[in-house]
């Protein structure tokens, strides 16, 4: 359960989040859409403390992560994040990428982590790549490893920051497929995306952001076929051909 109230974030003089209120239920799949610069990625990055915020509160399962006394690392163990540019560790093979955090943080023994890595690689369809270096993988494969790496921590929440934006078109499908399966298993997911098809098909709720505000939120069917706000209509007209 994520609960955001009155969230404001500035970069210098530029206010990118101008007062965001948002809550995400357990097991919910929430997609955030909107034009570039609308603040959607920044909002996502605030949710696991990658950005310091200027005002407001963010509660993750009841704990206020803006509280300085709280150990943010503990909170992050419970929140997986997948980045646009994958960010795999290039000096480690696929298996080590996946096992690094759970072993270093003492969650799993090396042997158990290895076993878990193999399971996760099977889940993302890359069982044969355990010993491969990331540079030898395609973008789609790298992103699937990145998802497996995040899942290795057994998080309750997964954040996706435009996970398919850096991919060649023919590789988008394989990544979305893995995300769909995760959603089906009941993972709580917040997905910043330009994939309107995915948002429509998989999400429980869609948020449209523009200029630092949440302009409109609704179930996907309503938001896509019957947008209320002019800005939402304009945006959807541009992206949906």
């Amino acid at each position: 359960m994520i609960s955001v109230t009155g969230l404001k974030k500035r970069f210098g003089d530029l206010e990118v989040l101008k007062g965001i209120d948002l809550s995400v239920r357990n097991g919910e799949v929430l997609c955030i859409i909107g034009p570039s610069g609308s603040g959607k990625s920044t909002l996502l990055r605030c949710l696991n403390g990658l950005e310091d915020i200027n005002d407001g509160h963010i509660l993750i399962e009841g704990k206020d992560i803006t509280n300085q006394k709280l150990d943010i690392n503990k909170i992050r163990e419970n929140i997986g994040m997948v980045f646009q540019s994958f960010n795999l560790f290039p000096h480690m093979n696929v298996k080590s990428n996946i096992t690094l955090a759970p072993v270093e943080l003492g969650l799993l023994s090396k042997a158990d982590a290895d076993k878990r890595a193999i399971e996760l690689l099977k889940k993302v369809g890359l069982s044969d790549k355990a010993d491969t270096m990331p540079s030898k993988l395609s973008g789609g494969q790298q992103q699937r490893v990145a998802i497996a790496r995040a899942l290795a921590m057994n998080p309750n929440i997964m954040l996706f920051d435009e996970p398919t934006s850096a991919l060649d078109p023919e590789m988008v499908g394989e990544v979305l497929q893995v995300m769909k399966e995760l959603a089906k298993e009941g993972m709580t997911m917040v997905v910043v995306t330009h994939e309107m098809g995915f948002a429509k098909e998989v999400s429980d709720r869609v948020i449209f952001m523009d200029d630092g505000y949440i302009v409109e939120e609704n179930i996907p069917l309503e938001l896509f076929s019957n947008p209320k706000e002019k800005r939402t209509k304009d945006f959807l007209n541009k992206v949906l051909i």
């Binding site: 990658l50 690392n73 994040m81 960010n87 560790f89 955090a101 943080l105 790496r149």
Partner: protein, 216 residues
Amino acid sequence: MTFIEILTNSFPVLMQGLRMTLIISISSILFAMVIGLVVSLMRLSGVKVLDLISKTYVDIIRGTPLIIQAFFLYFGVPDLLNIRIDNLTAGIIIMSLNAGAYMSEVFRGGILSVPYGQTEAARSLGLSNAKTMRKVIIPQAVKNMVPAFVNQMIISLKDTSLLSVIGLGELTQRGQIVVAATYNSFEIYFIIGVMYFILIKFISLLGDYVERKLKI
């Protein structure tokens, strides 16, 4: 005297000098690595005081000639404090402090060359700042900084020749003594040059080897 005679006569003394050059170079490069790593991490820590201290240190070392630093530490400081410091200790301290400042910039450059996304990925998995540095950033940084690191090793090795001004019996100083006694300046300085060259060529080759090894 033929060249061969000059070579055989001066060789034992020059080898003594070479030994001293190696002792100073190796020990000060090792110290400099530790200093450099600590100072670069201080600069990247985001803590203002630590940043200021390390910046000042690097500025002072970079802003003054090595030979002045040597005079200052070997003559100036002992005069002021009324102590004696032997020239080998002084030499190693100077070279370590000097190379340490440059090394810190090599390390800092190496660390900054690793994309910020790597830090974000590691931190978002719940790894602490220290673990992120140790497991993710520094291993990648090392690879990127090998060329600059080797460069600094070579510069430091050559700079030890300046320590002859505090009477340290390294290769250059030994050579000067032999020249003073024999007047064979052409031959002796030629031999010394070749000895430095071979040593440095060896370091370059070692650097190439390490670079190849670290390539994925």
